[in-house]
Structures are given as structure tokens and as C-alpha cells.
């Protein structure tokens, strides 16, 4: 059981990293417009598809 003396600080380190990433995300405006970020997954880079579609014809 004494392994938790080591594991818990490591877990806390991960938490700190997570908070660091979170702060970075806040700074780079990822939370300023939630609607756009939510939709952005729908748009893929359709330039490639577009070309392919044209080639198929």
C-alpha cells in the first residue's frame, strides 16, 4: 500500500498539467465562443473531397 505515497503525488502532477492546459485553452479564446467550436466538427476540409468528387465525374 505504501506505493500510494508515490502514486498520489504523480496523480497531482497530472492534475497540474491538466490545469496548465486548461489555462492555455482559456487564454487562446477557446471558451469565448462555444457555439462555433461546437459546430466546427461538422466542417471537414472538403477541399480534398471536392477534388475527388470532381475526378470521379
Amino acid at each position: 500500500m505504501s506505493i500510494i505515497y508515490v502514486l498520489i503525488p504523480i496523480a497531482i502532477l497530472f492534475v497540474l498539467i491538466a490545469i496548465g492546459i486548461f489555462f492555455w485553452a482559456v487564454r487562446s479564446e477557446q471558451f469565448s465562443d462555444l457555439e462555433k467550436q461546437g459546430h466546427s466538427i461538422l466542417f471537414d476540409d472538403d477541399k480534398e473531397q471536392h477534388k475527388k468528387a470532381n475526378e470521379r465525374d
Partner: protein, 791 residues
Amino acid sequence: MSQSCFHCLEPIPSGFDGQVTYEHEQHPVCCIGCQAVAEHIIAEGMSDYYKFRTVKAGKVENLVPDQLKIIESYDNDAIQEDFISHQGSLNEVLLSVEGISCAACAWLIEKQLLALNGVARVDVNTSTHRAMILWDPSLIKLSEMIASLHNIGYKTYPFQADEEASQKQAVAKAYVRRLGVAGIMTMQVMMFAFAMYFGMFSGMDENFEEYFRWISFVLATPVILYSALPFLSNAIKGLKAKQLNMDLPVSMAIFGAYVASSYATIMHTGEVYFESICMFTFLLLLGKYLEFRARLKASEFTANLHKLLPLTARKLLESGEELIIAAKQLTLGDKILVKAGETIPADGLVIEGKTSVDESMMTGEHLPVSKIVGNQVFAGTNNHDGVITIEINQLGQNTLINQIIRLQHSALTKRPKLVEVTDKVAQWFVACLLLFATATAIGWYPISPDKAFWITISVLVATCPCALSLAIPTALTCAVANLTKKGILIKEAHVLETLPKVTRFAFDKTGTLTEGRFTITDVVTLSDSYDKETCLKFAGQLEHFSEHPIAKAFEDYFPNNRALDNVEVCSGYGIQGVIQNLNIAIGKPSWFDNYESDAQAVLFIDAKPVCEFKLSDKVRNSARNVIAQLKSQGVTSHMLTGDSSNSGRLLATQLKMDSVQSACTPKDKQSYVDDWASKGEVVAMVGDGINDSPVFNSAHLSIAMETGADISKNTADVVLLRSDLVAIPALITVAKKTKLIVRQNLALSLIYNGSILPLAALGMVEPWQAVIGMSASSIIVICNSLRLLKL
């Protein structure tokens, strides 16, 4: 095949048959502009836009060479100084983009700009309608980027963020960070707390327990010292202003429990409650953030005043040369040139040329005012048809527009502050709570000094006015969110409180009850040799060359072939020209022969009246219903209009309104409303122009139309985004329901607080139980408020 434009979804005018090919099908478009944009979007492989957009695109207008020149002037270093910041070798600019309506637009803009060489980063915000661009000035010019956005149909200009807006953004970010820290850390602390709870039953190694306590202490510290700090600073701020606010008991509980738990951890005695205070902080912060966010979104939406004044001006040099400079660099006595369609950048006297100026933003008078040499023109008004040279005589703070803004600000401080009442109640509640907590501490100290502290903390936490403080904001937030979905923007929290009490609605006429757009209602021919068709065709030919608002009514009758010569605008009368060797003219009835008629426009051929056109400003479809609905609820409706003609009176009778005041100056409107208010009436004002903005501050409640002037939208408490009066009854319904829910919430939280108080004071509630009780009461209140979302 649909009969609306593929790009902007507007109806297709007869005679135009442009088409675009999209996914192997032909789709009609309404104009060359839309065609070019749609073809560009499809050719660039960005056709996803049409798949995912949720709102129609704006109509596209072609850039004229003059506009291009203005856009190019943005590359000028002196002009750029105002709105550009530097990041290493890159430049950063914030652009205000007209026509962003949904996520698809944002995607389209980002895609278009990122394809350009030299653009490093683009970030489009769909809620503020702004785009941040980071670019390398050695590779691409700002004007090229703006022009490329124009290619896909977005009008763009540099945006200067004002102090207040950027401050609010910073606060929002700080909230998110605090919330994130509290959320992540609370999860961790909870984990160890659970281990300790179970340890209590199964017997835990003392070393482990000690270790877990220290870990909890380490994890809880950032939550208390970072996330919960605003509560403490607010409480101190309140104390300094000799006020007891809700933050005071909250921070006493949080920091008291934290200090005691830390003491217990370090000295190995007593209980620790890190998990309770972390959760408490998180929940409180969440409530506050949601409330703040709703308010932020509302204020962001209304456009900035800067948009009203142009950034650049055409300065005339001694040599007669024309130089585009930043409007800020103008000095008194400068001579500037203002072309047709441009906005006047500063107040001044006309020294050359004649024109008509649209001053509706200032005066509410929708007809253009003619300006000749020696007349004063005002910054922010729109030059209609002529080219004028003006000599600047007022700048900055002294311009009329800034005076109007100041008038608003002074009236703003006089606004009845209903919110203060709630604050007062809260003060009393907090005072009682503190007294009670002190009494508990004093009462328990002689009995058991050990327990006295924790019981006091329990009292503070359990009776924490959390549910109480959430009762109003959550209900308001849900109501506001619901209304936003319906296209009604609430900018002030007091709106929903005031609305159920309103006894009078005052409406502006043009643009509010009417659409501010003229249509032809009746055509009467006076001569047998010309039929209606021919008359309308002639009128359409002529009016095509006029910028007068009435001319827009004839837009549909413009034949594609131009057969007009010698067009001449006769200021104050109308417009004349020659078609098929006939001298035709359209304008005021009294133009020729002293002809008398009550029609707004008469067509003359060879100076003989041949046709009368009766025009009317189209009444909004919903106006009659809304006024009837208000009446059924015992609310009277009144018209306050700047229009001096009889049409206001006619419209009022037609709509069955209770009273009319025409030819009102902004000051008159204000005094009517003040008069009503002094008689104990609660007045709501609905309007759209700059002339309505002073009265907005006098009225208890102000509602502006989205189509109205920016200034009035900034002042108003409510903005109707769809410019539809139907929103008003909906607004009242939601407000009444909100009032009910707020009452239920207050009752619920008072019952909870009242019943837990004696239990906590008797020491029957452990702090962790107190937190659960507090959370449960908050959750019940929140759930109750959520019902407002589904109205």
C-alpha cells in the same frame, strides 16, 4: 426549383436570370453580386457552407471604386495606429464583420483568410461578430484581406475595442479559469474525502488518514486562495462601503472553515472539511458565472458606437489635392470632402456643393434634409446624393452625437433602481444571519468550546443564503436565455422585474409601428392618354436616380432599359428628365401649376399632372394584434412620434391606440414620459432611432428594434433582434412567469433556511451535512428555475 436566391434567400427580381451550379444542379440567384460570391465559394471548395449554415446570408453589393479607396487607406500607417497591435513581426487586428450569422459564416471566413499567403491566424467570434487576424505585413496587406472577405460577401471594417468591453472579456476569462481550478480540484479532494469517509467505517491506517488530510489540504488551497478569492474581496469591498452583502457570510464560512481545517491538519486534531468548502466554492462560482455570462452575451451583441463614425476622412489640401487621413487627425478648420453615400466624420459648415443629408439617426425625421452652402452638418449623419466640402467647426466631445451620448449618461444615473430593493432585503438577511451565528457561537462556547466553532460554521454554511442568492439570478438567467432564443435580448436585469408592473406602453412611429419602408398603395391616373402601367414605368425610370426614401417604393418598376436623358434633381421638389421626347417629372404635387392633392408624389408630363401616387409606410403586421393584446391586459398604448404630418394620427386611430403626440422632439418625448411617471404610471418605451435614446433613459423600461440606430440599441434595456412587435407579449408572459418562479424559489429557500437554522444551531448538523443540505436546496432552486427555459 425554389424561387428564392440560392445565396441570400431573397426573392428573385423579375428580369434577372443568373444561375450557379451547386452539386450538379442549377440554382437561381438574385443578382450579380450573389452570383459572384456563390461561384467563388463553390469554386474554392468551401461549399460546406451551404450545407451547414443555419441563417441566410446577407445580400451582396459590389464594391465601388470609392469604397476600394477607403479600404486601401486602411494600409496607411497613421490610420493603422489606432486599431493594430504588434506581436513580434506579426500584426494583429480586430475586424468588425457585418453579416456573420452562424457558425458556417465563421468557418467560411477562416477558410478564406487562411488560404491567403501571410495570414498566420484567424479567430472568428460568432457572438460578437468580430474576427481577429494575425498576419505578416511583409507578405500581405490589410486591404487585400478586407477585399477578399468582400469577395465572399462580408462587409468588414477595423474595430476599436473600447475599454469596457475588453475589461468584461478579461473578467469572463478569469471566471472560467477560477471555475476550472475549482472544478478539477474539487473532484480530486472529493476522491480523498470519500476514502476517508469509508475509512471511518472500515478502520483506516492512521498514517494514511494523516497523509490524505495533507493531500486534501494541498489540493484545496488553490481553490480557496484562487477560486474563492473574489468572494473575500467582494465582502471586504462591501464592508468598506459599510454594506453587508451576500459575499460576507459566504467568505466567512469558506475562509473560516479553511483556516480551521488547516489548523486541524497541521496540529493533528479535530475534523477537516476541505471537500465541503471546495464544493461550496465551485457551486457558488458556477451560479455567479452563469449569471455573468448571460449579461455579457447581451451587452456584446449590441454594436459599438464607433461604427457610427467613420475612421477616415478625405482632407482637402491647399493645393486642392485630396488626401485620405484618419478621422482622429482632423483639426478645427480643416476642409474635408464628403461624397455621396458616405458618413460625415465631424460637425462642420458646408462651404461648397449642395446635397441632402439623412439625419434620421439624430432627429427621427426620416426625410433627408437638404443642405446648401452655409448649413451645418453633423458627424454620424449620412450624406445622401451630392458631393460637399465642409469646414470642420466641432470635433470629438463637442460634436452633436457626443452630446447626445452625454445626455443619455446623465439620464442614466437618474434611472429608478429597482434592483436596490433586492439588495436591501439581502442586507437585512445577512445581518440577521451574522447575528444568529454570533449568538450560536456565544451560546455554545460555555457548553463546549471544541464544538462551538464547527457548529457556528455549520450554521453559516447550512443557512448560507446560497439558495436565496441563487433564487433570483438563476430564474433571471433562465428567463434571459429563453428570451434570447426567441430573439429578445435583455440587457438589464431589472427588465423582468419591471415588466409585469408596466401600465403604459409608448411607441415611436417610423421604424417601430411601421417598417420605415414606403410602398405604393394607390395609383390614380388623371389623363386618358397614359395608363397606370406606363405611369409606373415612367416613375420607376425617374426615381431610380433619386436617393429619396420615397423613391425606394418605385424600385420594382424600374425597367431594365434606360431611356432617360437630362436627369435633374430639383431639391425640395422632385426629379425630372426626358423620355421619348416627353418632359416627365415626379415629385411634390405643388411643383407645377399649383396643383393640389393629398398624394405624396405626382407624375407630371410636360408640366401637366397625369398620375397621383399614394404611398404609405407599411405598418408592421403584428402591431394591431400586439396593441389589442396589451389592452386586454389593462395596459394602455400611446404614440410619441417625431413626424409632424397627419399620418401618425391616422395610424393611431387605425391601430386603436389610446393617445398620440406628433412632432415630438427628443426632449418632448422625454417630458411626456416624465410626466406620466410622476403620476405613478410605469412606462415602457418602444423605439428605434437616436432620437429615442434620451427618452429610453426616462422610461422605466426601454425596448429597441434591431433595425434601429446603434445608439438606441446601446441605451435600451431590451433589443428585439427580429424587429417584430410580437416579441412584446411573449416578453410579458415570460416576465410574469419569472416573477412567479422567483417567488417560489424564495419561498423554497426560506423554508429550507428556516428549518435548518434551529437544527444547525442546536449542533445537530455536521458541516458536511450542512453542505449537502445547502447543495440540495440550491439544486432544487436551480431545477425550478430551469422550467423557465421551456416556456
